[in-house]
């Protein structure tokens, strides 16, 4: 953060006086900073000039600033304003009651280390979980989890349950930090790793921490059993309460231990550790339900009294001091962090357990393409930073991908299964050349996976950078193809090698372009008057290129099949059987149909938008403040580095979409008619896709509705109504239902 870097530069500045250890108000005393390495001592000789100063400023004019040449109004504006509740973080600490740290609180008797009631224990643990969840949602640890005083000195706690729980919490913080760091798919808005110098109890090993938890757990389990209702006897109410308290505490201790164990198991990335993690997570899921039902057993904070004057907007219980770290924060920092409630925290944990269970399934992805698709789909559900990071670590972490394959090897297989380049067949010549190409691919494709791990808003930026990488890779692929073509033609079994690797890279480039344009809709970046050229670009170029790349791959795979079959027994029995099965249908038939449908869908929107514009139903920006060209160029800027497909310039757009090019004069009705036809085609294509997944269902609903709307518009429905159409993105985030 900018603020903290400024601070360090200030400390190096010998201009800064260093004072500590003594009252600054006493004059003539040598001050020195106790914790910092030797610094020049500063001696002050303070002279009080208060009244003299106040008198002197009276000579200044209203609005006149006294300053030197290099300090101006601009600098003055960037000063933080003291005593302003929004800017001055230090101000809050001086209001109302004194802020106590761990030792002070123990001394003052405000912090119990032993003999805590069940109510207190459950309440403290639930509050800790609420803080933890708030931290995971991207808030600073100093304002969330580290406001719990028990976590500052867990070894001083005498109560065994609370001590074990506190240490385990610190271990959990450490492992979460580790996971998020090693995945590297977080931004400052997702996660704040800083722990402000607090330790994570490294004196206690992870194994010992788990052991402590287990001991407490067993003890509680005995208590749970001992207080059970015996058959045929009435349940003593006291016994019943003890039983329920023990169950509540037991579930929290056990949840914490198993949740940590699950994360640790996933991080080991071994074949056996994933089922282990899954077992832990299944138990966690059951435990969260018990925790949710027993929130009421925990101590609740008293409602704050107004006269206390402590300007914290949430009440706290014993063990929590919201302002304890306030002075550790940089001068400009969000003043308040609204903590999650216990109920919200429990629901969050429940959902997170579900997400973690889902991401362990990435271990079933055996190819690069399936893993990429998995992570892309997972990203659409807008997952939390921890689950996003774990998915990355699990698949990409270390030197090898999950399953022990290197990235270059995985990509080679991906390219082979995509289009089966002859150069990747056994005994193909120029092996070194091909190897070095796939080594070159490693970095961009790793970035591709990582990009999908970032939060949705950042992905768009990252895609723009990735397009540069892929443009260079495309160039390389074309060169390799050309070289291999020459080599293979001269070999014993002459075969052409045209645009195999190139098509594979192109496929990924095109998917990135589509992702870039469509995320503009999900992030609500486009104005309605921009829709027509975004959809036009997708309809006229990107989807057309994608369909042609897929068709080419399709043809190449079939050709390879034919080649294998002609070769007869040489290719071996097993592959022959496989090929025979494949031949029944085109390998990319479904994907081609799907993309053709999307192409027509975009065509439909393009024509519909043109029609609505012609009919004056789209609000246009004021001409003198707007340049469509600037907007257009900005929207497609990242595409300018890509050579294949070549970027389409604004004047091309104008000449291609000029309505005067049409043979007959164009009315809105004819445009609506065209749009209707496009929607109709999209619908019939989508209906041929047999495996109806939810996305296809959503798209079908969109095209059917839009078809009817276009028909109405064509028939002149509401032609005189000046109200503008609405675009409803609730059914599909990129393809709206047009409402008139």
């Amino acid at each position: 953060m900018a603020a903290s870097s400024t601070d360090t530069s200030l400390e190096r500045n010998d201009f800064t006086p260093s004072i500590s250890g003594a009252r600054p108000t006493t004059s003539g005393i040598n001050f020195q900073l106790s914790t910092m390495p030797p610094r020049p001592e500063v001696t002050y000789n303070w002279i009080n000039i208060t009244s003299e100063f106040f008198h002197a400023t009276k000579d200044l004019q209203l609005g006149e600033l006294l300053h030197d040449d290099i300090f101006g109004l601009f600098e003055a504006m960037s000063a933080i304003e003291m005593m302003d509740p929004k800017m001055d973080a230090g101000m809050m600490c001086n209001r109302g009651k004194k802020v106590l740290n761990f030792d002070q609180a123990v001394k003052a008797g405000a912090l119990k280390l032993n003999n805590l009631t069940m109510e207190e224990l459950v309440g403290i643990m639930d509050s800790m979980l609420a803080c933890l969840v708030t931290w995971l949602e991207g808030h600073s640890a100093a304002q969330t989890i580290l406001t719990c005083l028990y976590l500052h000195k867990p070894l001083s706690i005498e109560d065994r349950a609370l001590r074990a729980f506190s240490i385990q919490t610190l271990k959990l913080i450490a492992i979460i930090n580790n996971i998020v760091h090693s995945a590297g798919v977080f931004e400052e808005e997702d996660f704040q790793p800083a722990l402000y110098g607090y330790g994570v109890c490294s004196e206690v090993s992870e194994v010992r921490a788990g052991g402590m938890m287990r001991e407490v757990e067993e003890e509680l389990q005995r208590a749970v059993k001992a207080t059970r209702n015996r058959q045929g006897e009435p349940w003593d109410p006291k016994m019943q309460k003890q039983h329920e308290d023990a169950v509540a505490l037991f579930s929290r201790i056990r949840f914490m231990r198993l949740f940590y164990a699950a994360l640790a198991a996933i991080m080991r990335r071994e074949q056996v550790s994933i089922p282990e993690a899954e077992r832990c997570l299944v138990s966690c899921n059951e435990l969260v339900c018990i925790m949710q039902n027993t929130i009421g057993r925990g101590l609740r904070p008293k409602q704050p009294k107004d006269e206390e004057g402590n300007k914290v907007d949430y009440p706290v219980i014993m063990g929590f001091e919201p302002l304890v770290n306030q002075r550790l924060l940089p001068p400009t920092f969000p003043r308040y962090t609204r903590l999650r409630t216990r109920k919200e925290a429990m629901n969050y944990l429940e959902e997170m357990v579900g997400r973690l269970r889902h991401i362990t399934k990435i271990t079933h992805c055996t190819t690069f393409h399936t893993a990429l698709e998995f992570i892309e789909h997972f990203s659409e559900s807008r997952p939390c930073v921890l689950s996003r990071s774990l998915a990355q670590v699990l698949y990409l972490g270390g030197d090898k991908l999950w399953g022990g394959q290197g990235m270059a090897e995985a990509l080679r297989e991906a390219a082979r299964s995509f289009i089966c380049p002859p150069a990747l067949l056994p005994k193909a010549p120029a092996k070194d050349y091909v190897d070095s190409f796939f080594n070159r691919c490693v970095r961009p494709f790793e970035q591709l996976i990582q990009t999908c791990g970032h939060n949705r808003a950042r992905q768009r930026d990252k895609v723009a950078h990735l397009l540069e990488e892929f443009a260079m890779l495309q160039d390389e692929a074309d060169k390799v193809d050309a070289y291999l073509h020459n080599v293979l033609l001269k070999s014993d079994q002459p075969r052409p090698h045209l645009a195999y690797l190139g098509t594979w890279v192109l496929y990924h480039t095109l998917r990135l372009m589509i992702k870039y344009l469509l995320t503009g809709f999900t992030l609500e970046l486009y104005a309605v008057h921009e829709y027509h050229y975004v959809y036009w670009y997708l309809y006229e170029f990107v989807y057309v290129w994608l369909v042609s790349a897929l068709s080419r791959a399709d043809a190449m795979l079939l050709e390879q099949d034919g080649y294998d079959t002609n070769k007869g027994g040489k290719s071996g029995r097993s592959s022959k059987n496989k090929n025979r099965n494949k031949k029944k249908h085109r390998p990319y038939g479904k994907e081609i149909t799907y993309n053709q449908a999307l192409q027509h869908l975009c065509g439909g929107y393009y024509k519909a938008m043109l029609g609505l514009r012609e009919a004056g139903k789209v609000k246009l920006p004021l001409q003198e403040f707007d340049s469509e060209q600037v907007r257009y160029e900005h929207r497609f800027l990242p595409f300018s580095v890509v050579m294949t497909p070549p970027p389409v310039h604004y004047d091309q757009f104008l000449s291609m979409t000029d309505l005067s090019n049409f043979p007959q004069p164009v009315s809105p009705a004819t445009l609506y008619h065209d749009a209707r036809n496009h929607f109709f085609k999209a619908r019939s294509l989508l209906e041929t896709i047999h495996a109806h997944n939810t996305e296809v269902q959503q798209l079908l609903k969109v095209v059917k509705t839009n078809f009817v709307v276009m028909k109405l518009l064509e028939g002149g429905h509401k032609a005189d109504d000046p109200t503008r159409p609405q675009f409803d993105f609730t059914t599909h985030p990129c393809f709206p239902i047009i409402k008139i």
Partner: protein, 87 residues
């Protein structure tokens, strides 16, 4: 003029809430609003006489109405104005 003479000197300002700010005096106006560069914040020591570490604030503006007292460091000559920015 006195005010100009004080520019870039170390200045200590006590505020109405008891905190003390130390920094170099860079700007003021008719309402006694003062801007200190490279400013640090010092808390009033607690009953045992212990004092917490000062907190680095950087460039800070103290509204005139919150100023209790102003002290200037007379012993040291005003240092040369730094060539860099103030923050």
């Amino acid at each position: 003029m006195k005010l100009e003479k004080w520019l870039h000197s170390s200045m200590k300002i006590e505020m109405t809430d008891g905190r003390t700010l130390v920094g170099s005096f860079v700007c003021t106006d008719r309402d006694n609003n003062i801007i200190l560069g490279s400013c640090t914040e010092h808390l009033r020591p607690d009953e045992d006489g212990r004092e917490e570490e000062p907190r680095v604030l950087g460039l800070a503006m103290i509204p005139g109405r919150h100023i209790v007292s102003i002290c200037i460091d007379e012993a040291s000559q005003p240092p040369q104005p730094p060539t860099s920015m103030y923050t």
